[in-house]
């Protein structure tokens, strides 16, 4: 995104890599790989998350894969640890991902604590982050909206802090803007909202708070028209970012201020 007024670029920088788009999208829950790709194109996202799973052994040699539709050469892949409930599982998954993607180090760490809420287990997350960073990974980390944990993850060396706005896949929106603001205020690395956005206005609210980006999957994939929603999310994020940079007017709850001149009224 280019700031049209000052003509300076407003890139998102993560672990030394620059991105024009502040929208990161997941590739799960789409009806087809073709639809996944069309949504990514409409979103203009540059970073896409993928999961790491056992390959299907019964497949035919010409069966298409996600990588055929979203070539890793064209996008920045962000392999995740979705489904991992311990630091050991998460570390094992990301080491395999690095081998799969020829030494690619930028990863999304998430260690879950509960299958019903998919709430992060921050103790296991911190444990895994320390080991992964020591092992040379650039760790973008999914976490709760606890400002102290967020700060600790930054101090360990995580390259982006990714708090939830509400539960993964819930579409409940930005439930605790106050905590997100505290995290943003204290952080010296990008803060990316990583769960809970349900529609475009949620994304705008998060960006207006000062988030550096948003990672979403379900809000786009489960929209009635995912490709149109991907486009809406792109605009919502650009809009929220520009509003944040512009700086909103002061709120004056008990006193109106006329926009038209008070002088020269026809009497």
């Amino acid at each position: 995104m280019v700031d049209k007024i000052s003509n300076t670029s407003d890139d998102l920088t993560i672990a030394g890599l620059s991105f024009k788009s502040r929208l990161l999208i997941g590739t799960g829950k789409y009806n087809s790989f073709k639809e996944t790709r069309s949504a990514i194109d409409a979103s203009q996202s540059e970073i896409v998350t993928v999961a790491i799973r056992r390959v299907n052994l019964g497949q035919s040699p010409d069966e298409a894969s996600l990588l055929d539709f979203i070539p890793p050469e064209q996008f920045t892949y962000l392999p995740n640890t979705a489904g991992c409930y311990s630091s050991d599982e998460a570390i094992r998954t990301l080491r395999l991902a690095r081998e799969l993607l020829d030494g690619h180090n930028l990863v999304k760490l998430e260690v879950l604590g509960d299958p019903d809420t998919l709430y992060p287990n921050v103790v296991e997350t911190i444990k895994a982050a320390k080991i992964l960073i020591k092992d040379g990974f650039d760790v973008m980390v999914y976490t709760s909206d606890d400002p102290i944990i967020a700060k600790q993850l930054e101090e360990i060396g995580c390259c982006a802090i990714m708090p939830l706005a509400s539960l993964i896949g819930s579409g409940m929106g930005i439930l605790n803007p106050w905590n997100l603001e505290i995290i943003i205020d204290k952080a010296n690395v990008p803060v990316i909202v990583d769960a809970g956005v349900g529609t475009a206005s949620d994304a705008t609210i998060a960006m207006e708070l000062g988030c550096d980006g948003i990672l979403m999957n379900t809000a786009i994939a489960l929209a009635h028209n995912p490709i149109l929603m991907a486009s809406a999310m792109r605009k919502a994020i650009e809009s929220g970012r520009e509003a944040f940079l512009a700086g909103r007017m002061e709120k004056k709850p008990y006193r109106a201020s006329p926009s038209s001149p008070v002088k020269g009224l026809i009497k």
Binding site: G28, Y30, T49, L57, L96, A97, L100, T218
Partner: protein, 67 residues
């Protein structure tokens, strides 16, 4: 020999095989994947250098859609 692959037991002729041979037997050649043997990653450069033996636990993983 019997090898555990992705949680299933598969039976093959012979007493050992390389990862490269195994991939061909499984019709996975040309695909992108990573392989782990008994919890240790086998680097791609070693696919024709090391052997998988009877009873080994093999994981073959790839990237799929996810958020």
């Amino acid at each position: 020999m019997k090898i555990h692959i992705n949680g299933n037991i598969k039976e093959f002729k012979g007493i050992k095989t390389t990862p490269e041979e195994l991939i061909i037997k499984l019709n996975l050649n040309g695909k992108r994947f990573a392989i782990e043997r008994n919890g240790e990653i086998i680097p791609k450069k070693d696919f024709n250098k090391i052997y998988i033996n009877d009873g080994d636990k093999i994981e073959i993983i790839g990237a799929v859609g996810g958020g």
